[in-house]
Amino acid sequence: MKRTKIHSKRNSDSKKKQHLKKEAKKIWGISSTTNIGNFFISCRKGLLLSKIVK
């Protein structure tokens, strides 16, 4: 019972955090599909890298 409660609280915290993060990213213009500044190049470089170093 206790364990379920803790798990449930963690889950709820995590969901809340995810929501806040999502909102903040929206407010600050950070999204893979809409932010097309250099951030995305950075992102791409990481992904490009994943192609090279497999």
């Binding site: 990213k25 950070i30 951030f39 950075s42 791409r44 470089k45 490009l48 994943s50």
Partner: protein, 531 residues
């Protein structure tokens, strides 16, 4: 006889910028004691640290924040508690298999870096990039920021780099300035170096400074913040400079080509420019002293130079057009690769040259295959008509995993106007060949070349659409012709006049990507394609 050579932010911190290790190798080979610092790497590493985030958040009063700023502040604990893990993930090869998580980590890191905007609202920092919320091409606004007490780079250097400087007290502190955004950090550091270590001479070099030095000298900009500027290729001239400075203890530097220097009366001299006449490959880049395990990459990828200039050299938009082309021999490259691979225990290389000859890459590939050397590399590739299936197969078997290709346009009219020397038909064909041979392709496109009309621009989007299966990623740049305003000092821009109105409202943004065959287009692209 001590020297520090440093690269400064912003640059993407996944590998050292080659010029510093290359010059370090050259100078160490000449017997000079050189310390190299990748301040760009340490900058992003420290900004993304628990300790620094705690410091930043502790100086923020929550009540004074706007709603936008509060959205970051509420994530304070999450940022502080997870930032170390996020950096570790970017350095962990297994994490790269989970693309969704990888993407989220990149976004989270970017979000964390926005935190610095709460204290330093003149800057907008992303991983590897800094945007200035003022005109960073204008010397007046540049100097204003450098002198500002709320200068992040001043804060950073005094906190993280000053002890190192004072421990070494170098005779020369060399700073590489490759892109416009690095000028402010470089000059901010130079000012602190002059303040805390007055005898240290400041040496500036790099691509950007080589383009704008005349403006510096003519207008006495930032005059007190540098002692020497080396322009262009510096491999030979830096040796002469150091010999004159250290060995002869001379104050007269008129024998050093490509050097800007000041005499005892503080008069500035611009020495003769000399192009390199030979391409020596006797000295390899030396990465010793850099924190190679701290780069934001799961594997250390060694940058090496394959060639200088462009063997085609006729594209009208290109800044290296007309310059002489040099290339290393395949045997010397093989020797260099073997040496560096063994020394730094990595099989990953990026050939950082602008336009190596595909024929050279093929010969090198054959050598690597013959000697059974398993390395993986990326390079720029011009889609020459002689590239056939066998050619592409050889490149792949020789280790080419990523080809970076300047396609430029889907319009033959535009390609011809650029003097690109390649046809659309040819580009279509070779992209397919590369894809068939599992070479990952990243393609560069350019819109608005010499006010290209919308009809021709659409052809580029059609080209992308038609080649979706064969283009793995791409970037699109809006062509802006550099224009100098000589007489208007209030609006004086050192290099690019970015205040020019964009003539083409279709292009609101400049980069679009296709990823793993699933297009992630910017909405404007859809508008263009579906128009």
């Amino acid at each position: 006889m001590k020297t520090i050579l440093a690269s400064v932010p912003p640059w993407y911190p996944n590998q050292p910028y080659l010029s510093i290790p290359l010059l370090t190798g050259i100078l160490r080979n000449e017997g000079y004691r050189v310390y190299q610092r990748d301040i760009n790497l340490s900058f992003f590493d420290n900004l993304l640290s628990e300790k620094e985030l705690v410091t930043q958040f502790s100086s923020i009063t929550q009540n004074s924040l706007s709603e936008k700023e509060k959205s970051l502040y509420t994530l304070k604990d999450y940022f502080i508690n997870n930032v170390f893990l996020m950096k570790s993930q970017l350095r962990d090869l297994s994490f790269y298999k989970n693309k969704i998580a990888l993407k989220e980590t990149f976004e989270d890191i970017d979000l964390i870096l926005k935190t610095y905007q709460l204290n330093y609202n003149d800057l907008n920092i992303s991983l590897g990039y800094i945007e200035y919320n003022f005109n960073h091409f204008n010397p007046n606004t540049i100097i204003k920021y450098i002198d500002d007490s709320n200068n992040l780079f001043k804060y950073y250097f005094e906190k993280y780099e000053l002890d190192y400087l004072l421990e070494i007290i170098p005779d020369i502190f060399g700073i590489s300035i490759t892109i416009p955004e690095q000028l402010i950090p470089a000059l901010s550091f130079a000012k602190i170096i002059k303040q805390y270590s007055p005898p240290t001479k400041i040496l500036l070099g790099g691509d950007y400074i080589s383009r704008i030095y005349e403006k510096f000298v003519k207008n006495n900009f930032f005059d007190e913040l540098y002692d020497f500027i080396l322009i262009g290729e510096t491999e030979e001239s830096i040796k002469i400079l150091f010999k004159t400075f250290f060995d002869k203890n001379n104050n007269i530097f008129d024998n050093v080509p490509n050097l800007i220097w000041k005499d005892k009366s503080n008069k500035t001299h611009i020495n003769n420019k000399e192009s390199i006449s030979k391409y020596s490959n006797n000295v390899y880049p030396d990465f010793d002293g850099l924190e190679l395990d701290k780069y934001f990459t799961p594997k250390f990828i060694i940058p090496i130079e394959v060639s200088k200039g462009c063997y085609w050299g006729k594209c009208k938009f290109c800044e290296i057009a007309g310059k002489q082309y040099f290339q290393k021999t395949s045997n010397s490259l093989l020797k260099e690769i073997k040496f560096l691979s063994a020394k730094y225990n990595t099989n990953y290389f990026s050939f950082v040259s602008s336009a190596p000859s595909p024929k050279l890459l093929k010969i090198l590939s054959n050598l690597l295959i013959k000697e059974n050397i398993k390395i993986y590399w990326s390079a720029m590739l011009r889609l020459e008509p002689y590239i056939d299936n066998k050619f592409a197969e050889t490149l792949y078997n020789g280790g080419m995993k990523l080809a970076m290709i300047g396609i430029e346009s889907g319009s033959q009219k535009t390609l011809d106007a650029m003097n690109k020397g390649l046809s659309i038909k040819n580009n279509n064909k070779i992209l397919r060949l590369l894809s068939r041979n599992n070479i990952f392709t990243h393609c560069y496109f350019m819109l608005n070349y010499e006010n290209e009309d919308v009809f021709e621009q659409k052809k580029t989007f059609e080209f992308i659409q038609n080649n979706r299966k064969y283009i793995n990623s791409l970037s699109i740049t809006d062509y802006v012709k550099p224009i100098f305003k000589e007489n208007d000092l209030n609006n004086f821009n050192i290099y690019l006049d970015n205040s020019l109105p964009k003539t083409n409202t279709l292009i609101q943004s400049n980069r679009y990507f296709i990823e793993d065959k699933n297009p992630i287009f910017h909405i404007n692209t859809y508008l263009v394609i579906n128009a």
